[in-house]
């Protein structure tokens, strides 16, 4: 669903022509930047490409901290991209949905971030170059109050920190 939307954004960008391209090369640290580049084409190797086309967020099942199969597939794509563009330092931000208490959600988001870190390490990424952080339920990306939104908020976001 999310990937489909991203493809549409990309197609729209093509329709507008290359002159519309205004990709910024800033270091995004928040998944909310995903849609900021709508109407533009992310240049290869840019953070915008990573966030919009590769996809910087994997989702988790309720109260689960392990990376599920679709999460693993996306992390493998992320890993390939990070390797290709020599990204030497990343931060994993863990998040939880609003249906938990504050302290528990901080702990939960931290464990999700650690799971992603461990998976990247298993793929061969230098563990010491991965920092983790938990926002608990403090930074939702989806704001409605039903299951479809909560599932979008149970996420871990990979942020490019250095290369």
């Amino acid at each position: 669903m999310k990937m489909n939307m991203m493809k549409k954004v990309l197609v729209l960008g093509l329709a507008l022509g290359l002159s519309a391209c205004s990709t910024k090369n800033e270091l995004g640290t928040d998944a909310s930047s995903v849609l900021n580049g709508a109407g533009s084409i992310a240049k290869p190797g840019t953070v915008a490409e990573f966030t919009q086309i590769v996809g910087d967020s994997i989702l988790f099942d309720t109260n689960q901290t392990g990376v599920n199969e679709s999460g693993k597939l996306l992390l493998q794509k992320q890993y390939a991209w990070l390797r290709k563009y020599n990204v030497t330092k990343i931060q994993i931000e863990g998040h939880a949905d609003e249906r938990g208490t504050r302290q528990y959600n901080i702990a939960l988001g931290g464990k999700r971030a650690q799971s992603v870190k461990n998976y990247f390490a298993s793929l061969g990424y230098d563990k010491a170059a991965i920092s983790t952080l938990s926002y608990g339920k403090e930074r939702p990306i989806s704001l409605c109050d039903n299951i479809s939104c909560w599932s979008q908020n149970r996420r871990a976001v990979t942020a490019v920190v250095g290369r």
Partner: protein
């Protein structure tokens, strides 16, 4: 001088109100049902009649004193009414007004109003600007003075003085310690839900004198008041990672106390105020540690392959209750203050979070997640006698009044424009009230009496 000098007590009346409190508690035991059954049922609101009380404006000899006397009486009436144990009379039913301060009440004028107790007093503004107030509390039926107490405060602290008067009245008539001269430290929230600005803030327990302690540039969460000093521990994202902080609420001086490799969170003071228990995360697991604030020694108290958090000391400092998902869902566990074997105490179904030990030592308050709802409840310290006090879509994070009679917590409303507000409820489940915090507010923490 009348200061703290007890003159005479209407024993009959005091016994009556004490009986009312015990009756309320006894009623709860009778109505206690299995936890799951209570989820849908609003807790019994009871039919206990609050004590009718008349609060006269404190008298004065000039306009300034008379104005202050009216304001003090209004604060006292509001405190007493909010406690749920008193029904202050509207002044329109008074038969006697503007009695000279040195004159005894004419009780024949008060008995017909239905008032069982009468509050009167005198305000004097001294040459240096300080306020001097004299309280007289009368038993209308026995026609005797229950107590007379004198208070002094700087003029800007007149509300604090009024709350102290409320505490004296509450204490004389219920036999319990008061909780009106207290403050609430909390998180003020502004802005959209996905970019919420959070500021550490403090207010009086009645919602007045609100002020910010941080500017909102960084996420701040979960403040807890020191039981001994004007200090608050909380977490801040200022350094990127959540870290446990300490702030002096009078001076604003701050320091990082959770300066560890992993993130530190969920702090709470020991009863002596010299230590802070907190969670520190390493390799994904959260364990509970104790930090000595004086020598910075850190001791690990739990070592599990799980998420251990929300530690809270028993008031005697011997035990710690915390939440953990070591057995699957989050549940409450009690261990010794130095760690070691922990015993699960929550058995009512659903999952449990944010345990807080009562300052009286008799109950543990918690957030309970069951059936898609977040409830506030209390249980005895062995996990028995669970009672739900407040229900709905999302209630979280109880904090105890210093006398262990009232809880505050926050309640979230649904949806993109939803947000939190602070509520209070008696441990009887009665008297649920919203606290006026002037906007979205969460994570309340009650100060000790007089702080």
């Amino acid at each position: 001088m009348l200061a703290n000098k007890e003159l005479e007590i209407g024993y009959l009346m005091m016994l009556k109100i004490r009986a009312l409190i015990y009756f309320t508690l006894a009623m709860l035991l009778i109505t206690a049902k299995p936890a799951l059954a209570l989820v849908e049922v609003k807790i019994d609101q009871g039919n206990v009649d609050p004590l009718v009380i008349a609060v006269e404006n404190f008298s004065g000899s000039n306009n300034k004193e008379i104005g202050l006397g009216q304001n003090i009486a209004a604060v006292v009436m509001n405190d007493l009414r909010n406690s749920g144990l008193f029904a202050p009379l509207d002044k329109s039913v008074f038969l006697e007004n503007n009695r000279p301060a040195d004159q005894r009440p004419n009780f024949a004028n008060w008995r017909p109003t239905g008032a069982k107790a009468l509050v009167s007093g005198l305000v004097v503004v001294e040459g240096n600007g300080n306020i001097n107030a004299q309280l007289r509390l009368w038993d209308v039926l026995s026609q005797k003075q229950i107590t007379g107490v004198q208070y002094t405060a700087r003029s800007k602290n007149w509300r604090k003085l009024a709350h102290q008067i409320s505490d004296t009245i509450y204490e004389r008539l219920t036999g319990e310690r008061g909780y009106f001269d207290t403050r609430i430290v909390y998180i003020s929230e502004t802005g959209p839900k996905n970019k919420r600005v959070k500021r550490l803030a403090i207010m009086d327990q009645d919602g007045f004198n609100r002020k910010y302690l941080t500017r909102g540039g960084d996420i701040v969460l979960s403040p807890r008041f020191s039981p001994k000093r004007q200090e608050v521990t909380y977490i801040s994202y200022a350094s990127g990672q959540p870290r446990v902080m300490l702030i002096n609420v009078d001076t604003g001086q701050r320091e990082v106390v959770g300066n560890f490799a992993g993130m530190s969170f969920a702090p709470r003071f020991s009863p002596d105020g010299n230590k802070v228990v907190m969670s520190i995360q390493n390799d994904g697991n959260s364990n509970i540690y104790r930090l000595d604030l004086r020598n910075k020694n850190i001791v690990q108290l739990t070592n599990s392959n799980a998420l251990d958090t929300s530690a809270s000391y028993s008031p005697d400092g011997r035990k710690i209750v915390f939440e953990s998902d070591r057995s699957g869902s989050q549940q409450l566990f009690v261990m010794g203050a130095n760690g070691g074997a922990a015993q699960r105490i929550s058995v009512g179904g659903g999952s449990y979070s944010t345990p807080v030990w009562s300052p009286r030592g008799d109950f543990i308050a918690f957030t309970k997640l069951v059936g898609g709802q977040f409830l506030i409840g209390v249980m005895k310290t062995d996990g028995s006698g669970e009672r739900i006090l407040a229900g709905g879509y999302h209630n979280e994070g109880p904090t105890w009044s210093p006398n262990g009679r009232v809880l505050m917590f926050f309640r979230e409303t649904r949806g993109a424009k939803g947000g939190p507000s602070i509520w209070s409820v008696d441990i009887t489940g009665r008297n649920e009230r919203r606290i006026n915090s002037g906007g979205f507010a969460s994570d309340p923490a009650w100060s000790p009496l007089g702080k």
